[in-house]
Subunit: 292 residues, 2 copies
């Protein structure tokens, strides 16, 4: 997705948010916003991918703050609160006659833990309150039947994770993908370096992802979504051999929608009109959308 | 008030909003946001008043759009919906044993018609729905008793209006100010040129403000709030002789808080933490706050 006009205030709002998370030093917060604002003014180009620009703007913010992980505490809290909801998610899946679909829905609800932007949860603790009402909303776009047809004949499946918290439910989704088709080779991808509230290898290891997938790779670098110029040869190969790519969250859509990789299933909450319009979805719906 | 870090995304959000109001031409919208972003990156200085910077950024947006009044339709709709609520406001005032206080509260509710920023109404039509619940919230900060003491011995009072829609209730407030102390000389100030959703002389004339006040002046120029370097000698004199200055809305606070004019009563809805923190108010409260 190319950067939209509305991405400009949204990205800067997140920079203000991460500066506040990182430091109480008002001068440093100001310097961070100033540097990010100046760089964004230089980089803003309607022909460039939103994720590419966001990566660079977050990079200068992190450098100015001298902090390689401003979301550290929020990420920790997100994983904790999500873990407390695992028994509920498992009950919902076990009571369903379509466990894979419910696992997808629950992993999308985790996508609300995307802090510093409108349409997302403001505090990790709120997930507890909003989980059930978001579950009842169900899927606003549902391509799960088509996806199951592809999955049934897939050998290699690759899942790109998104936020902390959400990743706890992604682990359950991995389990259900394997249950649905035990013969798939499942690759899970986390971020190569800490960036916003996204999960890294540390989270995957702590959550023992090796028990639910066959391989854990990283995006290889500091990037919102995926920087395809910097991915490792191993990830490139995994992408090329994949019979199905599953992408969690908006940033992965922003990055992958600029490529030709297919088939891709996007599992996300459409939290802004830029994404909603680009994907032809209503605003603020839980969506499972397949591009093939 | 000096510009705060959070003012940066908020101001750009409003620029995106006004570009969308003004034109369907996507290229022109992009150019507008690009020009505003670049200028803001140049001007951003934590030692400068937020209203001063906002004025310049809106100016370049209007110039790029080639539109001197992007909020024209919204302003018209705001006045209409507010006028439909006048009988309700009059009933509330007439049933109260403190009519001036209720008139102040109602005029603050009108301050929700401040489009394109979080915490405000998204559509004029919503005022109808949110009026009663906002009325029930009452005043979160209430200096009306102190203000009445000053009013009782005032000769010259000056009221700086804010948005369209809101101005319909300001007219009722003027009537109540005159009822409270019929001997005051009441000056009402509107904007010198159309800027965001603020009221201009056209609105004051259409609403027949001459029937409720003694004098109508304008700020004399294109400015968020007031540009004190550009006010007319007449407005300057009116300010200097005023025994009480009443300021509606956040932008007037942003501008007047950088001056020594006193006593000032701010009547506003604290819709952002920048204003709320600066005024030591909770977020999203209706406030009547006196500085003397």
């Amino acid at each position: 997705m190319k950067i939209q006009t509305e991405c400009v205030p949204c990205l800067l709002k997140r920079i203000v948010f991460e500066a506040e998370q990182s430091t109480k030093d008002e001068k440093l917060r100001i310097k961070t916003v100033q540097n990010a604002l100046r760089l964004l003014a230089e980089l803003y180009d309607p022909n460039v991918c939103s994720a590419t620009i966001a990566t660079k703007v977050h990079k200068i913010a992190y450098e100015t703050l001298g902090d390689n992980d401003p979301y550290k505490e929020l990420k920790y809290a997100s994983n904790k609160i999500a873990q407390s909801l695992v028994p509920l998610v498992n009950d919902l899946i076990n009571c369903s006659d379509d466990p894979l679909r419910i696992a997808m829905l629950c992993s999308i609800i985790g996508n609300l833990m995307d802090f510093g932007i409108p349409g997302a949860s403001e505090h990790p603790e709120l997930l507890d309150e909003i989980f059930e009402e978001t579950f009842v909303e169900d899927l606003g776009h549902d391509d799960t039947e088509e996806i199951k047809k592809i999955l049934a004949k897939s050998k290699n499946v690759i899942l790109f994770t998104d936020n902390c918290g959400e990743i706890v439910f992604d682990e359950i989704l991995c389990r259900e993908l394997k249950k649905f088709n035990p013969s798939i080779f499942l690759t899970v991808v986390v971020k190569g370096e800490p960036i916003i509230s996204d999960a890294t290898i540390k989270d995957a290891e702590e959550l023992e992802f090796e028990e639910v997938c066959d391989e854990i790779l990283t995006t290889g670098c500091f990037a919102i979504g995926v920087d395809f110029d910097k991915i490792t040869p191993m990830l490139k190969k995994a992408l090329e051999r994949a019979d199905l790519i599953i992408c969690k969250g908006m940033a992965n859509y922003e990055a992958f929608s600029e490529t030709d990789y297919k088939p891709i299933a996007y599992l996300l909450r459409a939290k802004c009109t830029a994404i909603a319009n680009s994907m032809s979805l209503p605003l603020n719906v839980n969506a499972v959308k397949l591009y093939q």
